[in-house]
Every structure is written in C-alpha cells, then in structure tokens.
Symmetry: C2
DNA sequence: TGTACATCAGTGAACGCGCGTTCACTGATGTAC
DNA sequence: TGTACATCAGTGAACGCGCGTTCACTGATGTAC
C-alpha cells in the first residue's frame, strides 16, 4: 500500500476533481476532497497545484477542450448541410453539452475564480469560442454586412445559445431534472426569430 | 451602545448583506460577515434567518423586485414606441441592470443555493420574468403564430438578452471593467438577427 | 401613575467542522561511478 | 553488476482561519393590574 510515487498524480487528481465536481458541485470541490478521492494524503496536491484555483483552472482547460471538441464533432457531422441548419445543429450541440456536463459548463461560465491569465486556459477558452463563431461565418457569405455588424451578429448568436443553455441549467438545477424533458432540451428553431424581428 | 432591541434588525441585516455582497462577492457573504457589518453579535442573525440560505433567499427577493421594477420603468418609458424599439430598449434595460448590479444579477441567476420553494421568491422571480416576456407579446400581434411557437420565441428572446448579459458579466469579471466600454454595454440591434436568419 | 412580570432580542463564550498551508519526515527512484 | 547518494513524491501531524450553530445569559420592552 506504500503507494509512494504515484507516477501521474497530477492527472489522477484532475480525474478525481472531476468526479468530486459532479458529485458535490463546485462548492464541494476542495484540494482535500480531491486528495481523499484519489486516495492520497491531503497535503499531496500542493506538490502539483499551487492552489485550489490552480487545480480549477486546469480542470477548466479540460472542460473547454471537451466543449470545443463536441462543437467540432457536430460541425463535421453537418458539413454538407445548409448554413442555417448547421447553425441550428451546432447551437444544439452547445446546449447538449451544457446538459451532459452541467458542472463543467458551470465551471467554464459561472463566476468561479479561475486564473484567466493562464495561457493554456486562455488558449482553450478562445479556441472553443472560435468553434462556435466559425459556424456563423458561412451565413454571412450571402449577406452584405460591414465588419462591425458581423461582430455584433456573432455575439448575438452566441448570446442566444449561451442564454438558452444557461436558462435551461438554472431551471434544471432549481426544479430538478424533471423539467428538462425533450422539448426543453431542444433549442427552438432560430428561424422563429427571423419571423418575429423581420 | 447597549443597542439591545435594534428594532428592525432583519432589514438592517439585509442591507448589510447587500453591502457585503458588493464588496466581497457571493462567496464572501456569510451570516457572520453580515452581523459584523450591521454591528451586531454574530449569533444575532439566527433569530431572523434560519440559515445563510434563508438570508440569501430574502436578498434574492429584493433583487428580483428591483430587477422587475427596472424593466417596468423602461417599459413605461417606451410605451408609445414601435414594438421592435420597445423590445430593443427593454432588452437593453435587462443588460443595464446586470451591469449596474452584477452581484444581484449573479445572485438571481448563478447556481447560488436559494430556496426556490419560498413562495415570495417564486412570486418575485416569475413576476420579473413576466415583465420581460410581456414586452414580446405586442410583437406577435401582427404575426400568425401558434401557441407553441410563441412560447418558443419568447424563450429565444429571453435567451438573447440573458445570454448577452451573462457573457458581458463573465467578460468584465475576468478581464476587469475596462472591457465593458460603452459599445459592449449596448445590446446590438436585434434586427441584425433578422438579416442573418431571414 | 406605579409596580410586577412575561416576552422578546441580542450577547458572547464555546463547540466542532472543513479548509489551505507548513513542516520535518520517509520511502522510492534513478543516476554516477 | 553493484553500491552510494541526490532527488523527488507523498506522509501525517500541526497550525490558524472563518464558518454555522448551540446555549445559558442579560437587558430592554410593553402589558396587566
């Protein structure tokens, strides 16, 4: 049992952190809890992470990478669809991720104290953003729109899917998973907005 | 100084809670911190709030009420405008509130453990929601849309403004207030979406 | 108007809890010769 | 191939911190008579 020299405790701790995160939520996540789950003394994590914040930051890197990956996969799945369909489907993938990994989603987007100066986190976060925004670009091909308006439109699109995912998460956290039935999990047809605002 | 019998300590504690919330954030908010700020012994709050959760819930009621009030005021200001302008402006009021009171906004919408069984909170929260959604209704007058589609459209509109406010908050929390310059604080023209999606 | 007394609000000491952090330590590893 | 030794990873006891909660208490209030 003298498991001195774990080999890759840093990663083992991140795995444990993820489990603890899912079981107890962000506020139940502590260095000691991770150490306990990894079966290691509570002082061990300090050798690998400066602080809880450091560990959370590394976990957020994983979260953003998986998130970007999920968007990327869907992006490829719908490569040959009409741009509007692609937007709708990748938007749905965004929402799906928030439901499949609510705690990771929370970690990325709620006001958890992460170290956004960390270059790896910066990278992963902005890469994930690019995945989403990349979806909007093809839609512009047939439009005449100046650069400012393009940017604003991108942010609006991001706002829709992000807002929908956030509201859905609030709902399911507050009133239980019962509310998150199929119809709620489905991002409504964005064409409805064209109808309303047109 | 023997300030026995404060008179209205419950409200004083809520005021203090608000100050502490703004100064130290949600995670710095504790019953003891509120008591200290109110100049009262740390055991006093228990006489008025069952728990920290109870106090946060009461504070959230205030937050939702002020939020609804802000939307309501703007709603009246623009009563005679075209429905699309009204939507845009009330949406802007939503975003403005999130910038003016970021901590209250966080309290309402982040995964803070509030007691959503509390009838007063239920009331205030759903009332605030009605304020926003009420804005969308006039837009339907000239449209033919079935009930399902109306509901979905309402949620989409809510998602836009909520998502925009959330992303803005993330940005300013992470990178400081410098990023929240005027142009960012302004909700982009929703007509851009009609252009994109139409 | 005055006194007795029940009620209520706030006190302050104490409890146990989980936390991050520190520290001297110990045991495993791998390299130098 | 074998031995000495530096390095490194994990240990476990200890520290101080802020927290919510409890408890017997005390002082103010207001009502009954």
């Amino acid at each position: 049992m003298g498991d001195y020299h774990h080999g890759d405790l840093a990663n083992a701790l991140l795995q444990s952190a993820r489990v603890v995160l899912n079981e107890k939520g962000i506020h139940g996540l502590s260095l000691r809890a991770c150490a306990a789950h990894a079966g290691v003394s509570h002082a061990a994590p300090t050798h690998h992470f400066k602080s809880l914040r450091g560990l959370l930051t590394e976990l957020a890197v994983i979260a953003y990478d998986e998130f970007a990956e999920a968007l990327q996969v869907e992006f490829k799945n719908v490569a040959h669809e009409h741009p509007k369909i692609r937007l709708q489907k990748v938007g749905q993938a965004y929402v799906d991720f928030s439901m499949k990994e609510p705690r990771l989603f929370e970690l990325m987007f709620s006001s958890t104290p992460l170290d956004f100066e960390n270059p790896r986190l910066k990278n992963s976060a902005s890469y994930a953003y690019q995945q989403l925004i990349g979806i909007v670009h093809p839609l512009f091909d047939t439009k005449e729109m100046n650069e400012d308006h393009r940017e604003q439109t991108e942010v609006l699109v991001w706002s829709i899917v992000h807002g929908y995912a956030s509201l859905l998460m609030n709902e399911s956290e507050r009133y239980g998973a019962k509310c998150t039935d199929e119809s709620r999990r489905t991002l409504p047809d964005l064409g409805l907005l064209a109808e309303l605002l047109g």
